[in-house]
């Protein structure tokens, strides 16, 4: 048994007289709404009461938030460190010069357009 909070609806009604977040399952189901700030006030109060009484759910909430931060940091750090690969830069520039739009607008200015689907 992990949670000192009863899951009986009658007990929930005695606690708050509101919509109940009575079980760990409901608590975890509502986590995302709680963190997004979209839980109705009565539900939010019940949610927070459950967290006070249930250390594992409180821990789960903290770990859920840590998971988000860890994910952000893990994915963000790559971008700033690496210089742009020259081969890719050169390929992009070459493709651009070969087709679009660059310094060679004559093709697009030709009567009837350039024949491709570039809208020019």
């Amino acid at each position: 048994m992990s949670c000192s909070r009863s899951n009986k609806p009658d007990n929930d009604a005695e606690h708050t007289g509101s919509i109940a977040v009575s079980t760990c399952q409901e608590c975890i189901d509502f986590l995302i709404d709680y963190l997004d700030g979209t839980l109705p006030p009565a539900k939010k109060a019940e949610f927070e009461l459950h967290l006070e009484l249930c250390p594992p759910c409180h821990r789960y909430l903290n770990q859920y938030q840590a998971t988000i931060r860890l994910g952000q940091h893990a994915m963000e750090e790559e971008a700033a460190k690496n210089p742009p690969p020259e081969a890719l830069i050169n390929a992009i520039m070459a493709a651009m010069k070969a087709g679009h739009p660059g310094k060679d607008p004559g093709e697009h200015d030709a009567p009837g357009g350039c024949g491709c689907d570039c809208d020019r």
């Binding site: 963190l35 952000q72 971008a79 390929a91 491709c116």
Partner: protein
């Protein structure tokens, strides 16, 4: 002439609103997507200034490549997506709306290019995410309550090993969940923009995001649990 663009630009440009997500749990500062010097940049691009093209490609490529790799995994696919995004953007400069940020505009084209590439390739073998979600008994209590984590200190989120573990865990998530997690938590799009980018409902975004975060927590749990403790959630088989 043969058209050089493998993906039609109008499709890549058919993108979602530019409203960023400002939820309460996103605390990591974003690396700017804008080139440092935007003075007359769009004008220079539109006039065919080759120097302007090279400048913007050099400025934006590192971040765009990192973003594409998050979605696609492979370096080669990521480079293809970056190239397609730049070419599509350059081809459609006349559709760029004045007052917008050119870097953000191209970044969104890139995300569309990456998502299209992801959809078009064969789906890899993916474990069912249900195995990574918390389990509850008939009374609604967790079968394996969360146990404390020991995050490596003193600055755990900067540790290379931690980042490697987290990256591998994210990469192991099924595409449908990993994509939502990246769009919402890393790219920090809001629910509606994410739904538009993926062609699913906002409710589906919320459900997938919640499941993706729960699954990622489960995957990280054994790495941050004190030694010799029991797993708190079902581990992947």
């Amino acid at each position: 002439m043969t058209h050089p663009f493998p993906i039609s630009a109008p499709t890549l440009l058919n993108f979602f609103p530019l409203s960023p997500y400002h939820g309460s749990v996103t605390t990591v500062p974003r690396i700017p997507v804008e080139p440092p010097d935007q003075t007359n940049l769009v004008e220079r691009l539109r006039s065919g200034d080759a120097g302007a093209y090279e400048q913007i490609v050099r400025d934006l490529t590192p971040r765009m490549l990192a973003t594409a790799k998050r979605f696609l995994g492979s370096e080669a696919d990521a480079e293809d997506a970056v190239q397609e995004a730049f070419l599509s953007a350059f081809k459609n400069l006349d559709k760029f709306q004045e007052g917008s940020q050119v870097g953000t505009w191209i970044h969104r084209i890139l995300i569309n290019a990456a998502l299209m590439k992801l959809r078009s390739r064969n789906r890899r073998h993916e474990a069912a995410i249900e195995d990574l979600l918390p389990k509850f008994d008939s009374t609604g209590h967790a079968e394996n309550p969360a146990q404390p984590w020991n995050l490596p200190g003193p600055d755990p989120i900067q540790a290379d090993e931690t980042r490697r573990v987290v990256r591998e865990a994210i990469e192991s998530l099924p595409d449908a969940y990993r994509t939502v997690l990246i769009l919402r938590d890393v790219e920090q799009l809001d629910t509606e923009s994410t739904a538009a980018a993926l062609g699913i409902t906002p409710n589906a975004v919320k459900t997938r995001l919640h499941r993706a975060r729960q699954a990622l927590r489960t995957l990280l749990d054994p790495h941050f649990r004190p030694e010799h403790s029991e797993p708190s959630d079902p581990q992947p088989s």
